[in-house]
């Protein structure tokens, strides 16, 4: 059971959505060296999840694409006196799982362990060592570099990834979001151990980190865990804010020749920030247009009515700066023009006419009625509180979510799409065979 004490604050939402969804009770504090901690007790299962999110994504790569990912990927390759083998053995023998991820905005390190003291304490201690004292062994670095190069080659055989990379480049130009987290062949070949050490020293610091904890520990234990994980890191400084993203001044098109039977179509523009004032109207509007699976307009027009694609959708990726707004599908190359025409017409019509009252109500019912499903596991809650912490969202974000969705009006959705989405200033990427 999730804590129910917040039920009262949801009265308004209850009246509208008709049932109770209790949001998790989020505890928040700072470690002694400044890391912000978000904790939700979940006593039902004897396990705990800890995720540290650093503002150390590839948006901080500068002119060294791939550096954030290489640094993050090296954390388990050696720490203190422990070799990669010793680290792997240590976690496996405790039944603990670790995970490392590198995105544009952030780099994460995650640990899942049983709360049995004999298992949890050593797991957390080693986890802390990885963050605090990675040794970045030279031979391991060369190996991971080679793995990244194979990864890059793998990406270049995937039409979807080729399209996505080209889209970001075209949308973001000289903005740090233009590059891909996995870097480039040329850059990854040149990254040095010194680069990695410097990157770690600058960004893997307490004031640049969020700690999220969900599990069967109490507040006092959670405080100890947070200190244990972060305590050895220098306080350091948070990363500076990213620059804003200039809008596109014109539409552009790029075709990438690729020997695939389908053409992948990606149509996009810079979208919104996570703390965007238009967040809810844009989110709900897109839910209707292309964000709600088979029931959305794009899927209906492209897939249900015409059988042109298996997967046709649109989404916002809200990020620290304006993340992309993307509309996408894949279709056999001979249907490319037809599918693109329908996709554009669907978007244009949505912007000029807006959604119907009926669609808005249906969307709200789907989003609010399904809210309990978003937070029905420790894993989900961990993701939410990490996001709330990283993007500095209010602590009552989950409590007010349903109300804020329900407050959005038809006029607000229509207005937000008209102001923010510009079909005449979009990037179009196609990946496939030009003359089929």
């Amino acid at each position: 059971m999730l804590p129910t004490k917040r039920l009262l604050t949801l009265t308004a939402a209850l009246l509208i959505s008709g049932f109770a969804t209790a949001s998790p009770d989020i505890h928040h504090w700072r470690t002694s060296n400044g890391a912000r901690v978000y904790f939700v007790p979940a006593p039902q299962l004897p396990m705990v999840d800890i995720r540290v999110t650093f503002n150390a994504g590839s948006a901080r790569d500068g002119n060294q694409p791939g550096l954030a990912m290489l640094t993050n990927g090296m954390l388990e390759e050696g720490a203190g006196k422990l070799s990669a083998n010793a680290i792997a053995e240590h976690f496996d023998n405790l039944g603990a799982n670790t995970g490392f991820e590198s995105l544009r905005d952030m780099a994460t390190a995650s640990l899942r362990t049983l709360t049995d003291r004999e298992l949890m304490q050593p797991a957390v201690e080693t986890f802390a060592l990885l963050l605090r004292e990675p040794s970045f062994p030279k031979n391991a670095l060369e190996r991971v570099r080679k793995q990244m190069l194979v990864g890059l080659r793998h990406e270049s055989q995937s039409p979807g990834t080729l399209g996505s990379k080209a889209l970001y480049e075209a949308l973001y130009g000289s903005h740090p979001y233009a590059g891909h987290s996995s870097g480039t062949m040329a850059s990854v070949r040149k990254l040095s151990r010194e680069d990695v050490i410097a990157y770690h020293r600058r960004y893997y610091v307490a004031n640049n980190a969020i700690v999220a904890i969900v599990g069967a520990v109490d507040r006092q234990q959670a405080e100890q865990l947070a200190e244990q994980v972060m305590g050895g890191l220098p306080a350091g400084e948070g990363a500076p804010a990213l620059p804003g993203v200039p809008g596109l001044s014109d539409s552009t098109e790029k075709h990438i020749e690729h020997p695939s039977t389908q053409t992948h179509i990606l149509l996009g523009q810079p979208g919104m920030r996570r703390d965007d004032a238009d967040y809810f109207p844009l989110y709900i509007g897109n839910h209707i247009l292309g964000g709600s699976g088979l029931t959305s307009r794009i899927s209906d027009e492209i897939r249900e009515k015409r059988g042109l694609s298996y997967s046709a959708y649109s989404y916002f990726s809200p990020m620290a700066a304006e993340g992309p707004y993307l509309l996408s599908l894949q279709t056999k190359t001979e249907s490319r023009d037809e599918a693109l025409t329908v996709l554009r017409a669907t978007l244009n019509r949505f912007i000029s006419e807006g959604p119907s009252e009926e669609e808005l109500i249906a969307s709200k019912k789907n989003i609010t009625g399904g809210f309990a499903l978003n937070i029905d596991s420790n894993k989900d809650i961990l993701g939410y509180i990490s996001m709330i912490g990283f993007y500095n969202l209010p602590l009552d974000y989950l409590d007010t979510f349903i109300t804020r969705v329900n407050q959005v009006t038809l006029a607000q959705v229509h207005d937000a799409f008209k102001r923010r989405i510009h079909p005449d200033k979009m990037v179009l990427i196609t990946v496939g065979e030009e003359n089929n």
Binding site: S17, A22, L45, P46, M47, N85, A88, E89, F91, D92, N93, L94, G95, A96, N97, F100, E101, S102, R143, V144, K146, Q147, M148, L149, V150, R153, H154, S156, Q157, H258, P259, S260, T261, Q262, G291, S292, G293, L294, T295, S296, S299, E304, K305, R306, G307, Y310, S311, Y313, Y315, Q330, K332, A362, N366, G369, G370, A372, L373, D376, S377, K379
Partner: protein, 485 residues
């Protein structure tokens, strides 16, 4: 590629084995991530159904439909899954892919509800839904706030018998599935390689055929093929209803009786064994396709839990797969990815849960500058070592610790719990098998692992597939063993 690990490359071997209806990002659930992966064997562990928090209840309706309810009161949600005992392994060449196309058509309306209304009603109730087809099952699910379970039951019971198969809807949906095949297989060299690997390893066993169906079969599929398939297999006595969540089991039982109890049972056709004859010699297949990265897949024919003569052998194979690839400290990561740095990524998997005999599979991609032949030799050396030496007590202890922990971790997902119950029941085992998983693994000895290695991991049972990259866009690539460029 957000994560660096020995699984650097998302080689979607298992991606070809289970297909889901929705490919959209919106409300989509990553079913693949929740399934016991065919690449990682550590995850196939059981929930403890005896604890009061996760008590499991089993009912049989008068019409032969089994209902299994597991209580999980952590959150006010419920998942309802209906599992039909039909999938690609029930098909024959000529109509391959029919189970999966029918799964898509199950959203295209009944006598009572027009096409698409099922999805609209679930969406308006805050639900998520999808369906998936595998080799041995077709399954449909809805996730809802717990009090809305009757909505799912009513719709699901309706389409069990009253599907309205219409020609115009069928033609469009067949096109959608053909696009899905292009996306998942035709344009994905590793998936293409896996498809040809399976078709080479199995000649009689129906795992020869891909779940999505051969392209030509898809193109010539007819509405009457679907109609026959639906009439044959969609009945209460061929279905298992699995409900996990914040529910009262007795109330779920009454609801099930109310909505499904009235549906009459049907006579199911007899199943032919379709047993693969002895392989009698190693098989090799080469796939030439435009690609950048070579792929190696090696599979040894093995029995599965359902077909094995003594069940300990299946669990010993499960342990064996974990010795090779059960975490970053397992042999493949330690020796092939890190130590010798031969593989950029590599893994091993064993199909414990399947209806027919299956495979213990080794796969990988060579490290930059390494040849695919070197990787093959290194993997074969790993197999010889399992013949030669007993695994260490340290390795056994590590696997047991992981099994114990996973048993708890799995309870964090109601979806996973339902999947596990449904899959076991549908392939002809019982859900309780999962309850015994940990103790069965714990009982496996080093001698037994060596014994199954010697019995099943032999060259005469081996199939090897390699993807040899052809140039993309006229770029020169040096054969399948090309190094850095």
């Amino acid at each position: 590629m957000p994560k660096l690990s020995h699984r650097l490359l998302p080689i979607l071997l298992s991606g070809s084995a289970v297909l889901s209806l929705g490919g959209c990002s919106g409300t989509g659930i990553n079913i693949q991530a929740m399934l016991p992966s065919q690449l990682t064997t550590t995850a196939e562990v059981a929930a403890n159904g005896n604890g009061s928090n996760h008590a499991t209840h089993e009912y049989m309706l008068a019409n032969g439909m089994k209902v299994i309810v597991r209580e999980d009161h952590r959150a006010p949600v419920v998942i309802s899954q209906i599992w039909y005992k039909v999938g690609a392994s029930y098909e024959h060449i000529g109509i391959t892919g029919v189970s999966h196309v029918l799964e898509h058509m199950m959203f295209k309306g009944t006598d009572k509800h027009p096409p698409g209304e099922f999805s609209r009603i679930i969406a308006e109730n805050g639900g998520r839904e999808n369906a998936f087809t595998g080799r041995d099952f077709t399954s449909y699910f809805q996730q809802l706030e717990a009090s809305r379970l009757p909505i799912a039951f009513e719709l699901e019971a309706d389409r069990m018998r009253n599907l309205h198969l219409q020609e115009a809807e069928f033609r469009k949906e067949r096109d959608v599935v053909i696009e899905e095949r292009r996306l998942r297989t035709e344009d994905k060299p590793s998936a293409l390689t896996y498809e040809k690997f399976m078709a080479t390893a199995f000649q009689v066993n129906p795992y020869h055929n891909p779940v999505i169906g051969w392209m030509d079969d898809l193109k010539s599929l007819t509405l009457s093929d679907l109609s026959r398939w639906y009439q044959t297999w969609y009945s209460p006595n061929n279905a298992t209803l699995v409900v996990v969540g914040d529910v009262d089991p007795e109330a779920v039982h009454s609801l099930a009786r109310k909505y499904f109890g009235r549906i009459p049972p049907s006579t199911l056709p007899d199943q032919k064994p379709r047993t693969e004859p002895p392989q009698q010699g190693e098989r090799r297949v080469t796939v030439l396709a435009p690609a950048e990265v070579p792929v190696l897949i090696m599979g040894y024919k093995t029995p599965v839990l359902r077909t094995v003569d003594q069940s300990w052998k299946a669990y010993a194979l499960e342990v064996l797969a974990n010795v090779l690839d059960g975490g970053d400290s397992a042999r493949i990561s330690r020796e092939l990815v890190r130590g010798q740095a031969i593989a950029a990524s590599a893994g091993a998997s064993y199909d414990l849960i399947a209806r027919h005999d299956s495979l213990l599979t080794l796969e990988g991609t060579p490290a930059q500058g390494q040849k695919i032949a070197t990787l093959e030799k290194a993997l074969r050396d790993q197999v010889s070592r399992l013949h030669r030496e007993r695994i260490s007590s340290k390795e056994l202890a590590r696997i047991k610790a992981q099994v114990t922990a996973n048993k708890v971790y799995e309870l964090d997902s109601v979806f996973y719990q339902a999947m596990q119950i449904g899959m076991l029941e549908t392939i002809g085992l019982q859900w309780q098998e999962a309850e015994h998983y940990a103790e069965r693994i714990n009982a496996v000895t080093a001698e037994q692992v060596q014994q199954v290695a010697r019995e099943f991991l032999i060259d005469d049972n081996l199939t090897v597939a390699t993807l040899q990259p052809l140039p993309i866009n006229g770029k020169q690539v040096k054969g399948g063993d090309h190094a850095a460029h």
